[in-house]
């Protein structure tokens, strides 16, 4: 790990280290795959997020198809899945409907928005915007991506598991999430063993990654261990599948310990070759074990879901530690905390949220996973009966405890999913309004306020869950208060636009859409914040409308804007503005046509997560509106095509970008596009705040942070 140099000389030291360590022949593998460069890792997260965006989007189309025309065969796709025996009908079967919306939400939240916002822009922007050469812990940064990647793989792989993927909603409330949807005996210990071995195999993968960035002593003992592992693997391989079924707890634990032992041994002793060999052998053993186990053991989609997010939690925590350390320790000379751009502030505070909240999620997932495998009963009640069969682990648990734990993470997570977008949108609006941010410090305090309040509002998701009603009142009051900093931010954006010299680029349009849509998402939140009004709209489409206005209307437009804005810096080429505007206009209109009517459905009481609303008379009358929403959703899906064409096409054919195509003031625009390894050829020195646009002190309408002008740091104009 890179040592943390003193802040005042951070840039220079880090840069020298980079320059000295790396002669320019870095292997392809190390440069683009297991890279420790924050820019490459950022782009890796970007590609991961966009890939999952396509998967999650297609699932949304499937869900809307079913809701608009329940029971109508899905074109092509349905016939194909029926032919290969995955679906029982050509239309979306009920169990696959629940699975589809569960995976849509899980993928969109955990593998699109969080990687895009925190992973991509956190990685890419933080060091560039504070004038650092790289992250404080570059290797840990790589590890963050390489634990997000297997997590995503497991999530996608769960589609192919026995019984299909998780189908208990993205919240995975027990006791529903404790049910096995597939068939197979409920044999606790082998399943537990498989889980553990899965973890071990992921560790193997991480270890493979670690291998490329560390070097250690050679040893000969390791070859003996390799031989042992081969024998062990062969034994496992030649055994019949009954071996797995007949496994006793002791045996499974022993096997797990043996595999771990191999790993530890490989890590402590051994050279390059031996470690590669051993890693391959161990991965193969784990793969065989999992392959066999998954066929016969109840390792189902739900287990994969828990496991996937558990591993993703590592990624988040590793990233958060890194961002915080980088921002605190690696700012370039002159870059005080209150000279940082709001995007960096937002990412900094978001990282604190991640660091405090994610461990709680990890614990919850683990408890839920154990419950799912009937090992424990944290969330199952004393008299728990499913299909008239008493469950082996029923006893003493409390289902609502899970909701508390889950939302203790997931409510801050909602802010994790919006705060960075707020920061980036502030940057974009300031640049294209050619104006300083209106009330920079209040904006920072508002972010901090939202983050703090974000931790004491979680139970507003549970007003109707059966928890103590007085608790509901407490959380209603704190939830009402969180609207205040949100209002401050909105009005300050308006203030920023006021008196501006506004350029309507694709980036700016998306950023403005963020503001406009966030207003709707925020205001609809007030309805839910009121416990009494929430009685009627809880778990209806009103909630669906609200979350999509915040997460799509808000965050996704923010992400699109940020991609349009920073694409020249990331790839050194300009995106096509016309395609960008087509994408924006189509998305904006189709988005509103899709999600605004959902408010009306929700006020009518229409329940969410229904595969078919026509069965209930008071919901059936909304079917025409559901069809309208579905058509709009398809247009929204098609509207993303110009973006995909633009993203890929500009990478190849886009005009070369200059250093600072937008005439922006912050540090990332001071270096080449894309920045070289080590970011800055000369350590930047900052002289004033980040948003000095239209300053009267200079002739141009922008004053770069590195440009020294007498009195610029003291010039504060209040109107």
């Amino acid at each position: 790990m890179t040592a943390i140099p003193h802040p005042s000389q951070a840039g220079s030291v880090a840069h020298e280290a980079h320059g000295a360590e790396h002669p320019h022949e870095i292997s392809f593998f190390k440069k683009y795959i297991f890279s420790t460069d924050h820019k490459v890792i950022g782009i890796q997260f970007l590609l991961l997020g966009l890939t999952f965006f396509v998967i999650g989007g297609l699932e949304a189309m499937l869900v809307r198809w079913q809701l608009g025309w329940p029971g109508r065969p899905v074109p092509v796709f349905g016939a194909f899945l029926k032919a290969i025996g995955v679906w029982t009908t050509e239309s979306l079967p009920d169990d696959w409907y629940t699975a589809t919306f569960t995976m849509h939400a899980s993928i969109m939240i955990f593998f699109v928005i969080i990687p895009l916002l925190v992973g991509t822009f956190g990685n890419y922007l933080i060091p560039l915007k504070i004038g650092a050469a790289d992250m404080a812990f570059p290797f840990m940064n790589g590890l963050a991506f390489w634990s997000a990647f297997p997590a995503g793989t497991i999530m996608v792989a769960s589609f192919f598991l026995n019984g299909g993927p998780a189908a208990a909603g993205w919240t995975s409330y027990p006791p529903l999430s404790a049910l096995f949807l597939g068939h197979g005996p409920e044999n606790v210990w082998p399943a537990f063993g498989v889980v553990m071995l899965y973890l071990a195999s992921v560790l193997c993968l991480l270890y493979l990654c670690a291998y490329y960035v560390t070097t250690r002593r050679t040893g000969s003992l390791i070859w003996g261990i390799c031989a042992l592992a081969i024998v062990y693997g062969a034994l496992l391989f030649t055994h019949s599948p009954a071996y797995v079924l007949g496994a006793t707890p002791t045996r499974v634990v022993l096997e797990f310990l043996i595999l771990c032992g191999f790993l530890v041994a490989a890590f402590l002793i051994g050279d390059r070759m031996s470690r590669i060999t051993l890693s391959v052998i161990l991965s193969a053993i784990a793969a065989v074990y999992i392959g066999r186990g998954a066929q016969h053991i109840a390792f189902d989609g739900q287990s994969a879901w828990f496991l996937s997010l558990f591993i993703l939690g590592f990624s988040s925590i590793l990233g958060a530690v890194n961002y915080i350390s980088t921002i605190v320790k690696l700012r370039c000379p002159g870059m005080t905390m209150f000279r940082m751009p709001l995007s960096v502030w937002a990412l900094f505070i978001t990282s604190i949220l991640v660091l405090l909240a994610t461990p709680v999620l990890a614990a919850t997932l683990l408890l839920n996973l154990l419950d799912h495998h009937r090992v424990s009963s944290f969330f199952q009640p004393y008299n728990w009966v499913v299909a008239n069969v008493p469950q082996s682990n029923s006893g003493g648990g409390y289902a609502i405890l899970h909701q508390h734990l889950f939302w203790f993470y997931s409510h801050p997570a909602v802010y994790i999913m919006i705060l960075p977008a707020m920061g980036m949108v502030s940057d974009i609006i300031a640049v294209f309004s050619r104006k300083p941010i209106f009330g920079y410090r209040p904006m920072v305090y508002a972010i901090a306020g939202i983050a703090f309040l974000g931790f004491i509002v979680w139970a507003h998701h549970m007003f109707q869950s059966g928890m103590n009603p007085t608790l509901g009142t407490t959380f209603a009051i704190s939830t009402m208060f969180i609207a205040v900093p949100s209002a401050i931010k909105t009005f300050n954006w308006l203030g920023t636009v006021w008196g501006g010299n506004i350029r309507f680029t694709a980036a700016m349009l998306n950023a403005l859409a963020f503001v406009a849509m966030f207003v709707i998402g925020g205001l609809s939140g007030i309805f839910m914040a009121s416990t009494a009004v929430d009685v009627h709209i809880h778990d209806t489409y009103f909630i669906v409308a609200h979350i999509h206005y915040v997460l799509f209307g808000g965050t996704m437009f923010g992400i699109f804007g940020s991609i349009y804005f920073w694409y020249p810096k990331m790839f050194g080429r300009m995106m096509n503005e016309t395609l960008g505007k087509i994408h924006f206009i189509l998305s904006f209109i189709a988005f509103n046509c899709t999600f605004f009517p959902m408010h009306i459905l929700g006020v009518g009481g229409v329940a969410r997560r229904y595969a078919d609303h026509t069965g209930i008379a008071s919901f059936a009358k909304y079917q025409p509106m559901n069809q309208f929403i579905s058509v709009s959703a398809f247009v929204l899906g098609i509207a993303q095509l110009p973006f995909i064409i633009n993203f890929i096409g500009s990478w190849v054919w886009g005009p070369k970008a200059s250093r600072n195509p937008w005439e922006a003031t912050t540090l990332e625009w001071e270096t080449e596009s894309p920045p070289p390894h080590g970011n800055f050829t000369k350590v930047p020195v900052v002289h004033h705040g980040p948003y000095e646009y239209s300053s009267p002190l200079v002739e141009e309408d922008w004053l770069a942070q590195t440009r020294f002008v007498e009195g610029a740091d003291k010039l504060v104009v209040k109107h």
Partner: protein
């Protein structure tokens, strides 16, 4: 800046593109022919409320709607106005240089804060009136137990004593009666003991007298729930397997049914929420279900769950052919009669059906002299609003509100049917290995 000079393509295409984007949803719509041209969105509002506590919620909703609508319109109008007014014009060099205005920011911090605190306080009053309802102290309140199970609702009415027994006390393999058996056998035996028609809700018969007279129909899951209007109600909620949610949209009642917990809601329905209406038999629409009771001429009790039936008096033997029963509509009755004549369900045409409905009406009139019947003109629905599995959307139940007198009659004018669930383990049937696996699967 580069982009202050848009490219040729951008300039030429701008207007057509905007127009195309605006028209896109409209152009796409005809591809889906079953979207009706008139969506009639104006009829979609907050459903009417028929509870005593709901008015507070509705006025709070309306208040928040007005506040948010005003804020929304003001913010968006100001935003759009600024965007137009302060757009970049050729030759314009600089924007206004301003870092903010502390006083203005104080205003837009404090004003929302005050409004929101006021909303929070109003919310507390309405919420307490709902969840800590004074109706909970009404000694005359009617008690019910509603239990959710994948994917149906069970209802238990407190009997004449007005008290509910103890439910959801399922046996466990470690209980004295089962302890000696091998585990698989014990599970099978318990499954038998708690599967319909046995003690489905796990009523504890050993403990107390209160439950002895409950109207508890283990075989009749998903039977309609009958509640009195204008009387305090106490709904006890729980669930057997997973979370469910008890939602009556027209009565502003919603609460999760949580396994292992008992949720209580007290509320009172307004008299105009009453489902039943005495009507001339010719006026009753074909879809309306009929409230056949003990005093309907020609009605005989079918047994639990309190279904009365009017049959053909000329029918023979022990099974006179049924015409219509409680909770059946005239259309259901007509269909039954047609089907008894060996007409396939698919072969029934609308004219056939309407003529059969007419003949059912005239038969009722001629056979029993019935000129009026009580129709359930306002059928309410209970929907599950908490994801409970793949069949979540099928988990609906009929709810009928009847007058206080009708409810009294419904509860008391029937001798409770006999039922004898045993507290002793039922002798297990031979266990096939596959059965247990099938039973342990969730669905």
């Amino acid at each position: 800046m580069i982009l202050s000079k848009p490219g040729t393509l951008s300039r030429v295409l701008r207007l057509p593109l905007i127009v195309a984007a605006l028209l896109a949803p409209a152009l796409a719509a005809p591809a889906f022919a079953d979207v009706p041209p008139n969506l009639q969105w104006n009829k979609y509002r907050l459903p009417p409320d028929y509870s005593t506590h709901g008015a507070g919620m509705d006025s709070l909703y309306t208040l928040i709607l007005w506040i948010t609508m005003i804020v929304f319109i003001v913010v968006e109008v100001v935003l759009v106005y600024f965007l137009i007014k302060y757009r970049h014009r050729p030759g314009q060099q600089k924007a206004r240089f301003s870092h903010g205005n502390t006083r203005l920011e104080m205003v837009w911090t404090l004003v929302p804060a005050v409004i929101l605190v006021a909303l929070a306080l109003m919310t507390k009053r309405v919420w307490d009136n709902y969840r800590y309802s004074p109706l909970g102290d009404d000694p005359n309140r009617a008690r019910f137990l509603v239990v959710g199970e994948q994917f149906k609702w069970h209802v238990v009415y407190a009997g004449p004593d007005g008290k509910l027994g103890k439910y959801l006390a399922f046996p466990k393999p470690t209980d004295p009666g089962y302890r000696t058996m091998p585990e698989a056998e014990a599970l099978k035996a318990i499954t038998n003991a708690i599967a319909p028609p046995n003690n489905t809700l796990g009523q504890d018969l050993s403990a107390e007298e209160a439950g002895k007279d409950d109207d508890y129909a283990p075989t009749a899951a998903a039977r309609p729930i009958v509640l009195p209007v204008d009387r305090a109600l106490e709904i006890n909620l729980s669930a057997k397997d997973v979370l469910h949610d008890f939602f009556l949209p027209n009565f502003r009642v919603k609460l999760d049914a949580v396994p292992g917990m008992r949720g209580v809601i007290n509320f009172k329905a307004l008299p105009n929420g009453q489902s039943t209406q005495r009507m001339d038999i010719d006026q009753i629409p074909a879809w309306a279900r009929i409230w056949v009771t003990y005093d309907t001429p020609g009605a005989r009790l079918l047994g639990n769950p309190k279904i009365w039936q009017i049959s053909d008096p000329k029918g023979t033997g022990a099974l006179p052919s049924a015409w219509i029963a409680t909770f059946q509509s005239l259309e259901d009755g007509a269909r039954n009669r047609l089907r008894r004549r060996n007409i396939e369900m698919e072969a029934i045409t609308p004219p056939m059906l309407s003529s059969e409905i007419e003949s059912l009406r005239s038969d009722l009139r001629s056979a029993y002299g019935i000129t009026q019947l009580t129709a359930l003109m306002k059928p309410w629905e209970l929907a599950c609003e908490e994801l409970c599995g793949a069949g979540h959307y099928t988990m609906r139940n009929d709810v009928f509100f009847v007058s206080k007198q009708e409810y009294e009659d419904f509860m008391n004018k029937v001798e409770l049917s006999k039922r004898a669930p045993s507290t002793q383990p039922i002798k297990p049937a031979p266990v096939a290995a596959g059965d247990l696996q099938a039973a342990s699967a969730s669905r």
